[in-house]
């Protein structure tokens, strides 16, 4: 596997260079007084995408979504939807519909009336509205509950009604603000795939805001990772996880062991000296870096093999003792203290019920990883 693996995948609208974006943020900024919520964001989202804006709370992702919906006015830049400048266009005239974190179902209206609300605003004929409401309800399998009031529904059912209400108007874009945050863990995981399937069926572009990386990874075609009002990296879940563009991204998504080091030389494979490790590292890296460059080497815990035996030649390796073990059932995470005192995480799948040779505290172990399974970060 090389770091250009993604480029070998099938062409997508965002890589083929020919497709026009459906949503285009051009230098969008938003200030609240002295606070910069969104800072010169440029972003293109393509038709049919399931795009996630991922980030910690306060990173500006919700503000960006609300500007797209028209609830906030950008202080700089402009937003185009399908080529039309949205500046000055109020929320009720935009071709987008939003699903709110609280679902925002109108408490005084039945499920049916909630879904019909948007259609009535368009002045459609009664028969057409009835037809569209029925189809939306069917799509989310809520037809049986058409006459209920929101307070008579469970959390999961409310979530479906909220989705149906968004879809009923057949907007160009559906915006989802933390759509699953209010559900419990099991239901959330089940709903993630269901949402993706519905999106696939209706073919509408979805833009979702979430702070849950698992959710973003499961559901999205692409993720825009945000930090302090800026977009750190845009990419598919695989790109973001396997090839993070910066220390921030590597650290934010999943767990990462990072070693500061200096390039000693080499092309294609760099030799890197890390003060925390006894041996120099070899890491695959396509772009040449001059000797002496300060870099960070990132290795994911599941890419580190752990064993009592000395690893075979050609692998990077380090020695240490097991300091802590987090047994999670399916996997175990070993916290290994290296000779330098540095702690490193290694993850191992528990393949058997019982393991006679199972590692335990204070065992002397070797950690090893392939040069292609580490990554050199320069930012």
């Amino acid at each position: 596997m090389a770091d250009n693996a993604v480029k070998r995948n099938a062409p997508t609208p965002w890589t083929d260079g020919a497709s026009a974006p459906l949503i285009h943020f051009e230098g969008i900024s938003k200030r609240f007084g002295d606070f910069v919520a969104v800072d010169h964001v440029d972003l293109a989202i393509y038709p049919g995408e399931f795009f996630s804006l991922l980030g910690a709370s306060g990173c500006g992702k919700t503000t960006l979504l609300r500007m797209l919906a028209g609830f906030e006015t950008p202080t700089g830049g402009r937003i185009l939807i399908d080529g039309v400048d949205m500046t000055g266009i109020p929320p009720y005239e935009r071709p987008v519909n939003m699903m709110f974190q609280s679902y925002a179902l109108f408490p005084h209206m039945s499920v049916e009336d909630n879904i019909a609300f948007g259609l009535k605003q368009d002045g459609l004929a009664k028969a057409v509205i009835r037809d569209k409401v029925a189809r939306s309800l069917d799509l989310v399998q809520m037809s049986r509950f058409a006459g209920r009031k929101p307070h008579q529904l469970s959390g999961g059912q409310r979530q479906r009604v909220a989705l149906a209400r968004c879809l009923a108007k057949e907007p160009k874009v559906v915006l989802l603000d933390e759509p699953l945050a209010a559900l419990d863990k099991k239901l959330r995981e089940q709903t993630q795939l269901e949402l993706v399937n519905i999106q696939d069926r209706v073919g509408i572009t979805f833009v979702m805001v979430t702070h849950d990386q698992g959710e973003a990874m499961t559901m999205s075609s692409r993720i825009g990772l945000m930090n302090a009002g800026r977009i750190e990296q845009v990419g598919s879940p695989v790109e973001i996880y396997e090839y993070p563009g910066s220390r921030f991204v590597a650290d934010f998504i999943g767990a990462a062991n990072m070693f500061e080091g200096t390039v000693k030389g080499g092309g294609g494979r760099l030799a890197i000296a890390c003060p925390e490790l006894a041996h120099d590292l070899e890491v695959a890296h396509a772009d040449p870096l001059p000797a002496g460059s300060a870099v960070t080497v990132m290795v994911r815990p599941e890419k580190m093999m752990i064993s009592r035996d000395k690893p075979e030649a050609g692998l990077n390796w380090a020695e240490g003792v097991v300091a802590d073990i987090a047994y999670l059932g399916d996997v175990s995470i070993y916290h290994v203290r290296l000779t330098s005192g540095r702690k490193v995480q290694a993850l191992q799948t528990n393949l058997r019920h019982t393991e006679e040779q199972r590692l335990t505290w204070d065992d002397a172990v070797h950690l090893s990883w392939h040069p292609a399974n580490a990554l050199v970060l320069t930012r």
């Binding site: 028209g70 609830f71 006015t73 109020p90 929320p91």
Partner: protein, 299 residues
Amino acid sequence: MKAVSGRAGRFLVGLAPYAWLVLFFLIPFLIVFKISLSEARMGIPPYMPLVEWADGAVAQWHISLAGYGALFSDDLYALAYLSSLRLAAIATIGCLLLGYPAAYAIARSPGHVRQPLLMLVALPFWTSFLIRVYAWIGILKNEGLLNMALQALGIIDEPLQILETDWAVSIGMIYSYLPFMILPLYATLEKMDLSLLEAAADLGCKPFKAFLAVTLPLSMPGIIAGSMLVFIPAVGEFVIPDLLGGPDTLMIGKVLWAEFFDNRDWPAASAVAVAMLVVLVVPIMAFQHFETKRAEREG
């Protein structure tokens, strides 16, 4: 918001209540202040204009401090002020002593009975205040029910003179204002996190000490709001001292009423009102400050 509704729309929405309150609340107070500085006279209206334009150009000022002069020269006024503050304070303390246990009991009762219990506190408010005060005349007078009951029980031989004393006024005020104390107290007590008391107990604090150390300080906003809601209107109360008090019951509301309706001395009545406002301005401002903070927390 700007995208949501135009400036013109917002302006129109705000204009009606704003204009109403300026015209019928703010300006009248300025007029009270103005007339308190006027000279009294016989006629309609019974005061002199502050400025008269003699010969078209020369202004003739008629500023008089006579209305205020009386406030200081006749100690009736000073006594009435002190007596009003004293009776209002008694009413506030009485309401607090009765209202706190009641509010506490409601707040700690099972969830489904809280609303009905609270409703029972607010219910008397919906029947006429005047009639409820009137009911106390029948209870408190010499041949009234309270004296009859006490005599029948052999506690007293001679009827107690309660009606037409400050006692009756205090009872009437506590009775009338009690719901205004209980409701805000309940609101803060109900919101309190009960695990705080469990934590206090867990850390070795006895129930009564836990009450003093945890519950009481946390219910302070309710105590303050309730006390303001009782104290401020009680200072200016007129109906209760008029019906339940006697000729020696001095309250500033009664004095103002007498100046206005009996003596027809508008400047003096206005001066009394201004002086009452000066006394109340600190608690009123404090009340507004707390109310604004509370509303902001809610919003």
